[in-house]
Symmetry: C2
């Protein structure tokens, strides 16, 4: 790796700038810091055609990433997840150009690996020794895993209802894991207090600037995989919202370097009707969301009652003429079954929610049959065994199959 | 896809040839049929350099695969799994050039996806409507998943002790799933009777010729990922043995087309001391194994008391000056923890067994510090939650982290 083109950090709320070689957290105004690059230099240093021969992982976009020295890259081979055509299902629901990007095919089984890979690499580069974070499970599993590879100590706090398998990931990686009898917002408060007292690095969503840079690579990949065009619509399951913010950031950066034209995909935030603060804010044309009381959904990863980056999610939706949609847990489970039975994709419930939303939006006429529609499946269904009903006959050794 | 260079099928035991456009099962002698290609034509049609620009999945090796028409390819984006250097662990165990190929980063989370992708694609091409198979879990999950994508009906029989999550995969994909109170060999007998009676396609290990062609792509990828060289040693967890047979077949084909030289890696079959028929046969310098009574190991995927292809596994070991090693379940679990804590790889127990074997072989002086040693991790640890001990403190919402 030659070098990164990272130039500075900029508050996503007030615009204040920071020099990028210190482990900053939030802006003094409380807003999240975003990484900014010298896009003019990227434009003159690399052509999109140069990427074709690079290894199939997210580090192929190194010029758009913040890690300066190759030796600091902490990688498990993450990225370049497949984009699959869903021909049968697409035809059945009236969207013949339906695609799914499968983030289940990545270390730790979810898209959280992207944020962890880039976030941990940059933390290592900045000299971080201990980090702490709240999580709904998958981010904790991913950060614990990459922290182990980097030799960084990780302290993770997750709701006791988070997917059980993510506890295993944290435990076997040697992270210090705590459960809390509450929601991710409660876990966040515990982490905030500990960080303030002990001087740890806070790796909470958007409280450090680099997780989003990892998530951004989903947007870079989508464009490269669509042969440097953009799909018409991207549906994204939205909890903390870093994925959709990151994809939008990627598209803006690609426009700035001239690798794509003016057309933007419409970005759609998909939530569960049991926790839909972004949808409510969008319906009311507001720029921020309100805390969602008594949040509950089986799509645990999007059970986020109030996201720090909500205003950036809403901005991405408004500026791309997108929308926000809430679907029920029943619709999510039905969509999960259809994806598996009709297309062989065992998606997580969060990912399945995007199919449920696409069905709804097609019925309402908001999506059109000629459009290229991309579902973002954020992880593998293997991590959510409880969402599948199984009843299996047990045979004796010498028994025959029933007719 | 232009075309496949498949020329015929050949019995791996007696050499009898079969024309390849019918859905053959075993040879009349009971031996498994192997796909043979016109390697001379491959040599004159494609150069290894041509592959660099192809998509990062196993279909990049299409000339070496049996599927003739592109429209018959059933894919979920499988293949080109990462090869990771294990620097810290390698230094600690005296093997500074230690690598791991991570087959957890693939649809269904195990290397079984390769066999299913190619096997199901070819079954679709040959007009198969119903297939049946016994499985220790992961193969069943993979074949059920790819069968769903292909629109083929799948009947799966697995031991009741197989990993529970693989039941979910079969169930959600719409396969017909049965458990048996016994081992995979008992499941195999049930399938054999049903196939004989009902005329289904038997997709049991090596009873159809194409699963091995999918597994073969691991060997093709390893060589490409080592920049068209071979590592010195490959350690492979061996149950049915199709992976090691496939890797050896790939290496032979690459030699025949002149893409690699004469050097072969030493191939090592790793088994559990609770089920080690190949190790016993190798120690006794035999060409076939005997049925292993009372087989038991937590590495369930290699709990195979007698493999149909045992003679081919042993041939691969003898011809490459390899060996066979059995490790205990305790060594496997310790190796699984080390991989996660020291390298961030949450491997399945079968994959972890290869690290345990490498440690043993280094201590015995069979492996040397200057050698490039590749561990094959056949799947993700996420599918085996029971192998991880977790004890986590539960906090109340307003509680602080303990000191």
């Amino acid at each position: 790796m030659e070098k990164s083109f990272l130039s500075h950090l900029e508050c996503g709320r007030c615009g204040k700038e920071y020099e990028p070689e210190k482990p900053w957290q939030l802006c003094t105004c409380g807003g999240p810091l975003l990484a900014r690059y010298d896009l003019g230099k990227i434009r003159s240093s690399v052509r999109k055609e140069d990427l074709a021969r690079r290894a199939p992982n997210l580090w192929r976009y190194r010029e758009f990433l913040p890690v300066r020295k190759e030796e600091n890259i902490v990688t498990l081979g993450e990225g370049m997840t497949p984009v699959l055509p869903l021909r049968r299902l697409g035809a059945a629901i009236g969207l013949p150009h339906l695609y799914l990007k499968d983030e289940g095919i990545i270390p730790t089984g979810t898209f959280k690996a992207r944020g962890a890979a880039v976030g941990i690499s940059r933390a290592k580069e900045l000299g971080v020794k201990v980090l702490a974070m709240p999580t709904n499970g998958n981010a904790g599993g991913a950060w614990a895993t990459y922290a182990a590879r980097a030799g960084i100590r990780a302290v993770i706090v997750m709701p006791k209802d988070a997917p059980v398998i993510t506890r295993n990931e944290c435990a076997i990686s040697g992270a210090e894991l705590y459960l809390v009898d509450g929601l991710i917002s409660d876990a966040g408060k515990i982490v905030s207090r500990a960080v303030a007292e002990r001087g740890w690095y806070d790796a909470s969503t958007l409280k450090e600037p680099y997780r989003i840079e990892g998530k951004k690579t989903m947007g870079l990949e989508i464009v490269e995989q669509f042969d440097w065009q953009v799909p018409d619509v991207i549906l994204y399951p939205t909890g903390g919202g870093v994925g959709i913010i990151g994809i939008y950031k990627a598209l803006q950066e690609l426009q700035a370097v001239g690798w794509i034209g003016e057309k933007m995909p419409r970005l759609i935030a998909v939530q569960s009707s049991g926790c839909a603060p972004i949808v409510k804010a969008w319906q009311e044309r507001k720029n921020e969301s309100e805390y969602w009381e008594n949040a509950y959904t089986i799509a645990f990863g999007i059970n986020v009652p109030k996201a720090l980056g909500d205003f950036l999610v809403l901005k991405a939706i408004y500026e791309t003429n997108g929308c926000a949609v809430a679907v029920s847990d029943e619709e999510i489970l039905a969509a999960q079954r259809r994806l598996a039975r009709e297309e062989g994709v065992f998606a997580c419930p969060e990912g399945a929610a995007t199919l449920a939303a696409a069905i709804r939006l097609r019925e309402q006429g908001w999506l059109h049959p000629y459009e290229r529609v991309l579902l973002l499946n954020t992880g593998t269904g293997l991590k959510y065994p409880d969402t599948v009903e199984v009843s299996v006959p047990l045979l004796e050794k010498d028994q025959d199959l029933p007719n």
